[in-house]
């Protein structure tokens, strides 16, 4: 079976800085992939290239047979990839419900239908009761939750979560992990998470991809990756040795 998303030798430069070099990556339908690495390793750049916010200088990105290497973000979304952002990008002056309705218009142009779908998803992600709150007034945890809901409203096949759990309290993090599990379990989506919190990524992911200095260091099941000497040196540190 062909992978849902295939990144082939993607390279992205910013002037003299090489943010991604020859990165290859495949995501199968229904799989949860963790993307980890130290700050500046190129994780967000890779996300931006996949979602169309940036385009790689070399290499190819293919989604289910369609070449999206140079597709604009709105086309990538239409083809089935939705993302969230490290820095939240909710529509601050619109209500929670209106935010999600905007996403739901991906599947219908009728306001009533979009509204019904948005309400359904808000109940699913646990934002019921906050529909009419202006998005800017939400807590960070709720803003991130709203962004996930809005992304889900576009009916994606692959969900890219860029640090959806960073900056949250331990309690909020647990709730967010629970949400990602439910999205995976009930909506059967492929999910790719960028995350710094190892306690979150390792148990959540089926497979982990490690980036360092823009290149792919290794990939594999979480338990194996956590024992890899190179990963421990580059990222996890000695503190993590023996814990996994």
């Amino acid at each position: 079976m062909a992978p849902l998303l295939q990144v082939e030798r993607s390279t992205k430069r910013f002037g003299g800085l090489i943010a991604n070099r020859d990165v290859s990556l495949a995501i199968e339908p229904g799989e949860i992939v963790g993307l980890i690495g130290p700050n500046g390793a190129g994780k967000t750049t890779l996300f931006n290239c996949i979602s169309g916010a940036l385009h790689p200088d070399e290499g190819r990105i293919v989604l289910d047979g369609a070449d999206i290497t140079h597709a604009r973000p709105e086309r990538v979304c239409r083809l089935g990839i939705a993302r969230t952002w490290q820095v939240v990008r909710s529509f601050g002056r619109m209500t929670v419900l209106e935010n999600v309705i905007c996403g739901a218009f991906r599947r219908t142009s009728r306001v009533a239908a979009a509204r019904a779908r948005a309400l359904e998803l808000l109940a699913f992600t646990g934002l019921a009761g906050k529909e009419h709150v202006v998005a800017a007034a939400l807590t960070l945890a709720d803003k991130k939750r709203l962004e996930i809901t809005r992304a889900l409203a576009t009916s994606p096949r692959l969900l890219l979560l860029d640090e959806a759990m960073s900056g949250l309290t331990p309690f909020e993090t647990t709730a967010a992990v629970e949400l990602v599990r439910r999205i995976h379990g009930e909506l059967r989506l492929a999910i790719c998470v960028v995350e710094h919190v190892m306690e979150v990524v390792m148990p959540l992911s089926h497979r982990v991809v490690v980036l360092d200095h823009g290149e792919k260091l290794t990939e594999g099941p979480p338990a194996e990756v956590a024992r890899d000497e190179r990963v421990i040196t580059a990222y996890l540190g000695d503190r993590y040795r023996g814990r996994a």
């Binding site: 916010a53 604009r72 709105e74 239409r78 529509f91 905007c102 306001v111 576009t154």
Partner: protein
């Protein structure tokens, strides 16, 4: 409800007493309110400040005048023609600049307006700076006037008041329908976060073009009305900076991004401006710009006092209190 009644009956006393001037003030209020609603679509909802909307006012006025003078079209047909031409030109000139964001988009719209001025002053098709004259009708009653936008003699003030009221009402209803549609949601999404909007599949450039074309259509209708009112189209008049600024100010002072904002803004600003011009702008102080200075000061006070617009005042609370008083005194 009450507002609609006031708007409908407003000119009657002035028609009786012969003070046509106040009907013209009403006409200007409605015209600017309508333009303000149009500007609010791009500026308030889509969040792209357009400082050169008078281009489309001019395109509307010229297109309608040309269609009437040269092809003998009826005024209402000419109005539709003006709207179509204006939207087409707007789409063509706007698409390239939608790549720009924020201040840069605004600067591009100013540049367009500056380019339009020499074109308007020199282009032979529209008779350059000598302008176009729309022939005056010689007969016909009020109904004929409404059908042709031509009112010979005394009925003109009343006629144009109701024409502007009709176009204003259509604009308001259309804007309300758009606000509640998918377009309305998408415009605001692009305003609040363009990258976020694109990531959920919204083509931000397309929706900026749509928003500006909707504004262009409203301005073309306003320009047509103005042309038939003035019976002449001069480049320096239809490209006047006030057609850029007044609708925008009406929207900002009244409440940016709110449907009734520009309406309230126009109702407040236009009469003050007229009042200043007819009192301080005449007599011994005439020609010194005192009226404009005081007018500017009033706007600054309003803007400083209510930066989110007059609509942000607790109107509903006041209305509730009034009602409370009324029922209390009714019982007593």
């Amino acid at each position: 409800m009450l507002g609609a009644l006031v708007a409908l009956l407003y000119p009657i006393p002035f028609e009786r007493s012969g003070q046509i001037y106040y009907e013209t003030v009403g006409f200007l209020v409605l015209l600017n309110a309508m333009l303000g609603i149009g500007w609010n679509i791009i500026g308030g909802w889509a969040g792209q400040f357009d400082f050169g909307p008078s281009i489309f006012f001019a395109i509307g006025a010229y297109t309608a005048a040309l269609l009437t003078i040269n092809l003998g079209w009826n005024a209402w047909l000419a109005l539709l023609g003006a709207m179509v031409v204006s939207a087409a030109i707007c789409a063509a000139v706007t698409y390239p600049v939608t790549k720009l964001r924020g201040h840069y988009f605004a600067i591009a719209t100013v540049a367009m307006w500056m380019i339009a001025q020499p074109i308007g002053a020199t282009w032979p098709l529209i008779n350059g700076s000598q302008g176009l004259f729309i022939p005056v009708a010689t007969g016909g009653g009020f109904v004929h006037g409404v059908l042709t936008m031509e009112f010979p003699g005394r009925g003109k003030g009343l006629g144009f008041y109701y024409l502007s009221l009709a176009l204003f009402t259509i604009t308001l209803l259309a804007a309300r329908a758009i606000e509640r549609s998918k377009w309305g949601f998408y415009f605001r999404a692009v305003r609040d976060d363009q990258d976020g909007a694109e990531a959920i599949g919204i083509d931000s450039r397309l929706y900026k073009v749509i928003a500006r074309c909707l504004m262009a259509v409203v301005f073309a209708a306003g320009g047509t009305l103005y042309g038939f009112w003035a019976l002449a189209v001069f480049p320096d008049q239809v490209l006047e900076v006030n057609w850029n600024i007044l609708p925008m100010m009406a929207a900002v002072v009244g409440g940016l991004g709110r449907l009734w904002g520009p309406v309230l803004g126009a109702v407040v600003l236009i009469p003050i401006s007229q009042l200043m011009a007819t009192t301080l702008g005449t007599g011994p102080l005439a020609g010194r710009g005192i009226d404009l200075i005081i007018y500017g000061a009033i706007i600054m006070v309003i803007a400083g006092w209510r930066p989110n617009g007059l609509l942000s005042l607790p109107w509903s609370e006041w209305a509730a209190r009034l009602r409370g008083h009324a029922s209390a005194s009714g019982k007593a």
